[in-house]
Subunit: 476 residues, 2 copies
Amino acid sequence: MPKRLHVNLFEMNCVSHIMHGMWVHPDNNRHRFNDLDFWIETAQLAEHGGFDAVFLADVIGTYDRFRDGPDVSLREAMQIPNNDPLLLVPAMAAATSHLGFGVTFSTTYEPPFAFARRMSTLDHLTKGRIGWNIVTSYLPNAARNFGHSDEVPHDHRYEIADEYLDVLYKLWEGSWDDDAVVQDRERRIYTDPSKVRYIDHVGEHYRVAGPHLSQPSRQRTPLLYQASGSPAGLEFAARHAEVLFIGGLTQEAVRRNIAATRARLVAHGRPPDAVRFVVMAGIVTGRTDNEVADKLRSYRALVSAEGALAHSLSAVDLPRFDPALTIGALIDRGEPKAETLLRRFRREQTVADALRQMAGLHEDRFFVAGTPDVVCDAIEIWLDQDGIDGINLRQYLSFETARDFVELVVPELRRRGRLAEPDRSAAPLTLRERTFGEGQARLPPGHFGARYRDPANLRTPAERLRFPQDDGRSAA
Amino acid sequence: MPKRLHVNLFEMNCVSHIMHGMWVHPDNNRHRFNDLDFWIETAQLAEHGGFDAVFLADVIGTYDRFRDGPDVSLREAMQIPNNDPLLLVPAMAAATSHLGFGVTFSTTYEPPFAFARRMSTLDHLTKGRIGWNIVTSYLPNAARNFGHSDEVPHDHRYEIADEYLDVLYKLWEGSWDDDAVVQDRERRIYTDPSKVRYIDHVGEHYRVAGPHLSQPSRQRTPLLYQASGSPAGLEFAARHAEVLFIGGLTQEAVRRNIAATRARLVAHGRPPDAVRFVVMAGIVTGRTDNEVADKLRSYRALVSAEGALAHSLSAVDLPRFDPALTIGALIDRGEPKAETLLRRFRREQTVADALRQMAGLHEDRFFVAGTPDVVCDAIEIWLDQDGIDGINLRQYLSFETARDFVELVVPELRRRGRLAEPDRSAAPLTLRERTFGEGQARLPPGHFGARYRDPANLRTPAERLRFPQDDGRSAA
């Protein structure tokens, strides 16, 4: 059987998530993001089209570094306004029965006990269709919204996150036994008290007594997503993640990235196939080449370089320089912070070229524009040769991007055996089962979090992860 | 026109909220609280019956003082398991269009910035139908779930809460102007940056930069509910609350309570009618006296005194004493903590009588059992003579209690002009308008929170409330 594709619709509870400038397109519905109807329509389209999940990004602050303020972000609706992602799930869950939901939440600023209950609540309300994208917060403004004067240093964030996960596992996996809830009306016993326990976590960053407030849900621990772009992030992922967002500019880089991760999984005592690898993908399709070309033209005409610069927290106001100058020239003449441009551009690129790059459609390794056959050929190469397992579909227009995928690409993927045929009569699977196979609703026994199913381990301090020093930055 | 009744359905995202022991009744659906269907059915019933709102209580810990542990609470499902209340709202909102939602959230343990965004998100998703029950946390176990060794002292909790509200008002009322969002596709301006600002709050307990992440919603600040049972609580309510939960054992006590509150409102520069007064009410009704008597009998047979003792955080295990002994005798012979029983019982009451009281249906001033005429007569007295404005309807059985009210009491209340006739064709009102009148979607100009509409006030430290010393306890 050919390898199957996992597909998530990449979303965010805001106007402009990644493709900045597109909200002004007359067919774009992003301005409706404050309305329940927009999200119910999104969820129904995704479920109808056989998507595995709607995946919601999040940040809890404003990108206000570019031009020393939030003005560009506000004008472009670049992730501000931006509402809470978890609160979209119950309404989308009520309107669907098979679709999963990935939500992003940062371990940096909010206490774990309340978050544990929120995720258990969502796992109950969705009947096991919830996943969590673990992020640590890197936005300077987010830090200032939570009493800090600047961002928490990168590796320290991962140390905090590792203990945060420990608290969550204890609550989700260790506080209630599977048979704790008996609902015995005759004997008037809802829960057998001998099967529920305090966790009494006392660590470096958290002290949490428990017991967990929610009874066991179908998955207990939500499916764990993570993006790892740094050595510390990789170490963390090798212990915790079940689905990993990766990237790579070439097929070789992607394969190397995947192989390196599998090696770290093994070092952490997990099977090399314990993780699914997902990339953000851009797909522009249509019934004819002309239709595709028209779409590309209309999208490219709208993309905003300024929005992208604000999103990148750029410290340099590129548009104010002579377009003919090179990046190297800016550095050589001592423009403030110009050397930071080398993170993204080459010395010999001109300002004009750099701006064109920022105003692009992210036409990288996982971008394809073409008729459904062309798109599916590319996807098959990504699956079989790059070695990925799935995509987060980036949206240009809501709902055009998702609808094109559902109407044009999905039938062809099904014909090629790359997507399962929908079986609406089947009992809905949990998100973890949908990802790893029926019957695998819970964390596998070899996963670090599963250790707390043995109450004895609640009393034994876990060995903390040790993180290599690096200056990378995690993605949210 | 006769005074109209406000009606909330009193709920909690758990099995046993107030009437402990009732979940075992064969017609009770409380065991379905983990399911979305249960809540959608609840919301639709409430909307159909003309309820103003579903009002959700909450605690973020376990009642584990009685018999030195959580065993009774677990066995009785006494507020454990207990899921997050906010996450129910989006699904109930999608299934209704006029019903309001009151959610309980404590100011004691979680950071204000994230909560401000959650409530704005809910105000957007419900189109202005959200209210917030402001509580401070008193449960010792809740403290231990958030890194504290014991509960935060009562008055200190209100000091924290007062600054917490200040942060929220700045975000909700002061950070975005009404005309900030322009959605100008031609000029590519979603938000006019000159109309959004940082709040830069620096106080004793919080430092929050802003800007708020959500654009202005219909109500901005949700309708503010509070229960005040202490001098500090009353002072806080006089500044902040718009709907106040009160009690009182007699008509005189209720009237006194209301009058005292109105005096404090005036002292805080607010109109004496700036607050609506709501009581928790118990109503058992039926088509005939026999039907009512049958219901009373079946409810009384199930109520659990142990559940009520666990809920009261009782330090004394009353059921283990000779039922013929008096409370006074227990105190006189030096039973540990027996004197705490005087908070709830009289010296001359026997143990048997005290236990009967704990196993009762709360048959106090705002309890009535009878045919719809009898019930409506009582409600009219509560409205016209006690001086209350509304009730939180306590539930014995889900859905019997609400259905009885909707089918039997509501038509009679409408006949008497005490409930508005439903007008499904009318544009839905916000919850604040439903409470105070059409056109009043926002905090009134004289409310403390409205001061931050003037950006100058964002830069001026607010005078903090001063709280009288007392040893009372707030209700959650």
